[in-house]
Symmetry: C2
Subunit: 133 residues, 2 copies
DNA sequence: TTAAATTATTTAGGTAGGTAAATAAATTGG
DNA sequence: CCAATTTATTTACCTACCTAAATAATTTAA
């Protein structure tokens, strides 16, 4: 990258994603799969559209990841009144296995956050908000 | 993502990569291809290994991107004394077309940087350094 | 009421990252 | 000297993002 700042940003992003994948590996999950499980656990059953709009990614990306999660038994789909819509929810397996995975991820996040002061974290949030805004 | 900070980080990374790809599109390039062209322009001919070590990505990723760049006529390869090694360098086309692309990218970067004060930028660099360290 | 437009999802195919294992050349040690 | 190890690159295959276009269901408007 031309600019050091952008170069560093992209490098740290790869670092964080790779580390998160390492943490998730024993649970048989990848980062984006986890992101969707977490969202479903937090907000309950929701449509594909609700998922991709919330996560700010395109629909086909979510289609594929949800299909994989379904194959692996983490989520299931129901059809609503609107027959176009697929409503995705956690399966029993998804619900039951969630807590220990969440604990692993939380502990990873805390490890990273230990490297930053509380002030750094707030500053970083503020700066990140300015980038897209 | 569990944590708002990580979630924001990943979102802004996608935002920046997508925006950069938009800027590069008229030039027929994608962000990672540009990253490699930029490196070769800056440091001169170098081996695949030198490229992936510098960029902090795995070898197969660079193999693929360099092959694509070769097909598109941006780079060429020579073999050194060590016959395992491939030395990659910019072609005439690569050298000639570089400056206007660099100008577009620079202008994109400046646009983003306008959203951040000089102080924000230094703070962000400092915080990014702490994440991996 | 039905043709046109919109919405939800999928399919197809591209870039960009990863791991694991193969290959070929160079280096090292007994 | 040559067998074993290391190094450079590639191949094969997975996740994760993208765009463009297809399909099917719903909504809107003439």
């Amino acid at each position: 990258m031309l600019n050091e700042l952008f170069h560093m940003f992209f490098q740290q992003n790869r670092y964080l994603v790779n580390k998160l994948n390492e943490v998730l590996k024993p649970h048989g999950l990848f980062s984006s799969q986890w992101t969707i499980l977490f969202l479903l656990h937090q907000d309950g059953p929701m449509s594909l559209t609700a998922i991709w709009k919330y996560l700010n990614v395109e629909a086909p990306t979510v289609t594929r990841t949800v299909n994989r999660l379904e194959t692996l038994g983490w989520v299931e789909r129901q059809y609503g009144m609107d027959k176009r819509e697929k409503i995705i929810s956690l399966t029993k397996k998804g619900l039951e296995q969630f807590p220990p995975i969440a604990a692993s991820v939380r502990s990873f996040e805390q490890e990273i956050e230990k490297k930053l002061s509380q002030q750094d974290q707030e500053l970083l949030k503020g700066i990140l908000k300015k980038i897209e805004g």
